[in-house]
Amino acid sequence: MSTIASTGGPATRPDLPVTASQFLGRRRYGEIAIRLFLRIAAAITVITTVGILIALAIPSIGFFAEVPVFEFLFGTRWAPRFADASFGVVPLVTATAWTTVLALLVAVPLGLGAAIFLAEYARPRARKVLKPILEILAGVPTVVYGYFALQFVQTTVFREWLQLPTGAFSVLAAGVVMGVMIVPTIASISEDAMSAVPQSMRQGSAALGANRMQTTLRVVFPAALSGIVAAIVLGISRAVGETMIVAIAAGNQARIVTNPLEQGQTMTGFIANAALGDSRVGSLEYDTLFAVGLLLFLITLLINFISIRFVRRFREIY
């Protein structure tokens, strides 16, 4: 490409990958075609995002032509199938908020505890065994978690053992089990962030007479905070978007949830449930799916970008 390259090869820049364009001889059309193919493959990810936006936006436009945006966002009655249909999304949002908060109440302490133990206390051999076991929790299919939440946590523990005043479903059971599912997400990102804190900082702290707990809480934890925040934010995103656990165990009555022992339908739960019924393409019911999907996508998009920003910050520091 450049004249220097053709005479002497690339200057020694050890960090940068050597690119063959610097050695370019004759044109190779086969390689140009291959490069084009690779580029297209990478571009498909962008097409996917654009596709998601278009796929959600077009039916949503049809939806918002009939239901005002204000009524959708702030209406407190969700009854899309009733004769006097009403499209206030607040009940779905409150149910999602309940399951998400309950999941975080479980996942944040457990995930951070596990991360601190793995990063600061466990010997390498113990970590090598414990970490994969923890990761299994993330690999269990969500339907299986849903079954567990409904049949064991809700029916056996809450109703039979604890005799809690609750019905067949509850947002509590769904939220708690979802929290366990999210533990590895929070643990592994937080652990990465804590492991990235330079050893010299720990040594400095120890040299000043701090014990391991003090070092962990006052030196390592603050230094890794942006990574930990990113982990929690990503956990929120997973909790908001989780479908099968809530579809099975949280119930499917859309009403404003005021108590965790009540049942409630989340945004994802509604989409999953409404898709079961045969909604005609182009009908308001069909469009409703996408309007809720759009809201869900925008919420998680916002959360994801916050998380990515925090991750970048901790990568930049160390």
Binding site: S21, T48, G111
Partner: protein
Amino acid sequence: MSTIGSTIAGTIRPERPLASGRNGERRPLSLIFLMLLWLSLLIAFGVLVTLVITIIIDGQGQFSWRLFTEFPASDPDRAGARPAILGSAWVIGTTAVMTIPLGVAAAVHLEEFADKKNWFNRMIELNVQNLAAVPSIVYGLLALAFLTMLGVRDKNIVIAGALALSLLILPVIIISTREALRAVPQEIRQGSLALGATQWQTTWRQTLPSAVPGIATGSILALSRALGEAAPLLVLGALVFVSFDPNGLLSGYTTLPIQIFNWTGRPQEGFHQLAAATSVVLLGLLVIMNGLAITIRNRYQKRW
């Protein structure tokens, strides 16, 4: 983190936690703290064990070869998950064929060819990170809208489900392939280029073969995620009574997770037991896949 560690190994070993003085953990507060840390791991593992025991006990009564050979039925004692197992195999197989070449190609572009300063490539990177965290059900909606646009009436077909799952795991495959490529030392590329190979020849004959174990591990893990996924397929209408073996890309299907969801939602106890037994089958499949991934990683991955 481990790369930094290995370069300065010998002087200090950062992988090893810093030991504090003997008295460090004797203070009551420190002891309580350490116990809380243990407890959080213990609770997480306890839930995992409880879950596995629960589904094994619940499913006990329904374990038999019938589960693999029979079709779903209205009588739980005669029902099986044969079409669901075959359906999962079809959908995951199609997903693998569609998504692995594409994901690897995209990762090769980003890692080996792309100019990292270019705004378009930076946008792709950010985009892949974001796509990896998009809720799975949204991919179902995407596939639903796409098929509606094409005018497909019956959306419960193998190729549609595979499309949704492919898009779902594409970012996962891209991210893990990039990590595998990054682990191949620069010297190998430089050596190849120094011998006169073009950049593509270097990638195809040196870099990619060295990265195959890592790519295989990442792809299997991504596929095992797709195997357990139900939400996008639910949106596409996979929750149907299937009493035939799926036999092609346009065939109707149901999958194991969908079948579990279906049986869990029935009122009869017998179906719950079936759901638990099928969950055990699904977990068993996932354990096999993960075991395979770990074996490949341990046996074939090169350490430079």
